[in-house]
């Protein structure tokens, strides 16, 4: 079984400059893009626009969804019934054909998400996944020893709480709705959203006070 490369590039960012020769794969990407544009199968604007779409998707969007669910019980019900529709209510459009199931952490259930086969991730609402989510150690072990994986992130789940791992393999994506921390009754929705981290929405850590973004 092949081992995964643990890093994705060969040189540190500080050395990249405009006059640097593009690497082999960058040349390939440029060539393919230009050929497809020449053949009028795509346009340069298609690519430029999609880059803008991608840049606009960050964990702040997911945090907004979580904070709204914490303060608005009816929204929370709609979110749990149809994650994509509820996100679209907040103006978070889905640019692909994926569905979203939101997984609520409770007193009795702790959820975490993984894609063992590739890197499925709720990109429209969280942005792009971190490298560790896409590499072998997390993908291999999250489904077979989730409690040990959680402990590596500093998260200990008591034995009387069920750990529930969702492995994405098809068109459904997942977002964890973490538990609202204690002592936040007087927080505004914006203050609540500022507490919610990407890793909490993957399910590897809880939301706690003192972790404002």
């Amino acid at each position: 079984m092949a081992h995964e490369h643990e890093h994705d590039h060969d040189h540190p960012h500080a050395e990249i400059s405009v006059s640097e020769m593009p690497g082999y794969y960058e040349v390939m990407e440029t060539a393919i893009r230009e050929l497809l544009i020449d053949k009028q199968l795509i346009t340069g604007n298609d690519i430029r626009h999609q880059i803008e779409v991608l840049d606009s998707r960050t964990p702040a969007l997911g945090a907004k969804v979580v904070a709204r669910a914490w303060v608005d019980a009816a929204f929370r019900e709609r979110l749990l019934a149809d994650g994509r529709a509820a996100c679209e209510e907040l103006g978070i459009s889905f640019y692909d054909d994926t569905r979203l199931i939101v997984l609520e952490n409770t007193e009795t259930v702790h959820n975490l998400i993984v894609c063992t086969l590739c890197s499925c991730y709720p990109r429209p609402v969280l942005g792009l996944p971190p490298d560790w989510y896409k590499l072998k150690p997390y993908r291999a072990r999250a489904v077979s020893e989730p409690r040990i994986v959680l402990a590596e992130f500093g998260t200990i789940i008591p034995d009387d709480v069920e750990v529930r791992v969702s492995d994405s393999t098809a068109a459904v994506r997942y977002l964890v709705l973490p538990r609202r921390p204690e002592a936040t009754d007087d927080y505004s929705e914006e203050q609540l959203a500022a507490l919610v981290t990407r890793d909490a929405m993957i399910g590897v850590i809880p939301v706690t006070l003192g972790m404002e973004n």
Partner: protein, 110 residues
């Protein structure tokens, strides 16, 4: 039993439950070409020129060696090239010539 059946019947990306080491908390800001590659994948899926599942299969088809040695977006772009060849949308010759042209452009521009 030749012993090679496992290589054929188990995809190289099917790693759920395998033994693996500790989780290094690595992440990196995408390089511009990687982001263009990701945008390309989204555009190709939207237009159904190469849907997302075809991309996944194309990456799997690279085989264990390439998967082990190529980085994430490097695997995507090579998979795209192979799929475009299979569909007759690009030929290997035209891609090779365009890649040489792109390189020459950079050398000339220095």
């Amino acid at each position: 039993m030749s012993g090679s059946e496992g290589l054929v019947s188990r995809l190289p990306n099917d790693i759920g439950g395998l033994t693996a080491g500790s989780i290094a908390r690595v992440e990196h800001e995408l390089e511009p070409w990687e982001k263009r590659c990701h945008a390309l994948a989204d555009v190709l899926d939207f237009k159904k020129l190469i849907n997302t599942e075809e991309k996944r299969r194309g990456v799997e088809a690279l085989g264990s060696d390439m998967i082990g040695q190529l980085a994430y977006y490097e695997r995507w772009i090579v998979a795209f090239a192979n799929i475009f060849f299979a569909k007759g949308i690009l030929t290997p010759t035209e891609l090779a010539e365009k890649m040489a042209e792109v390189e020459a452009r950079h050398i000339a521009g220095r």
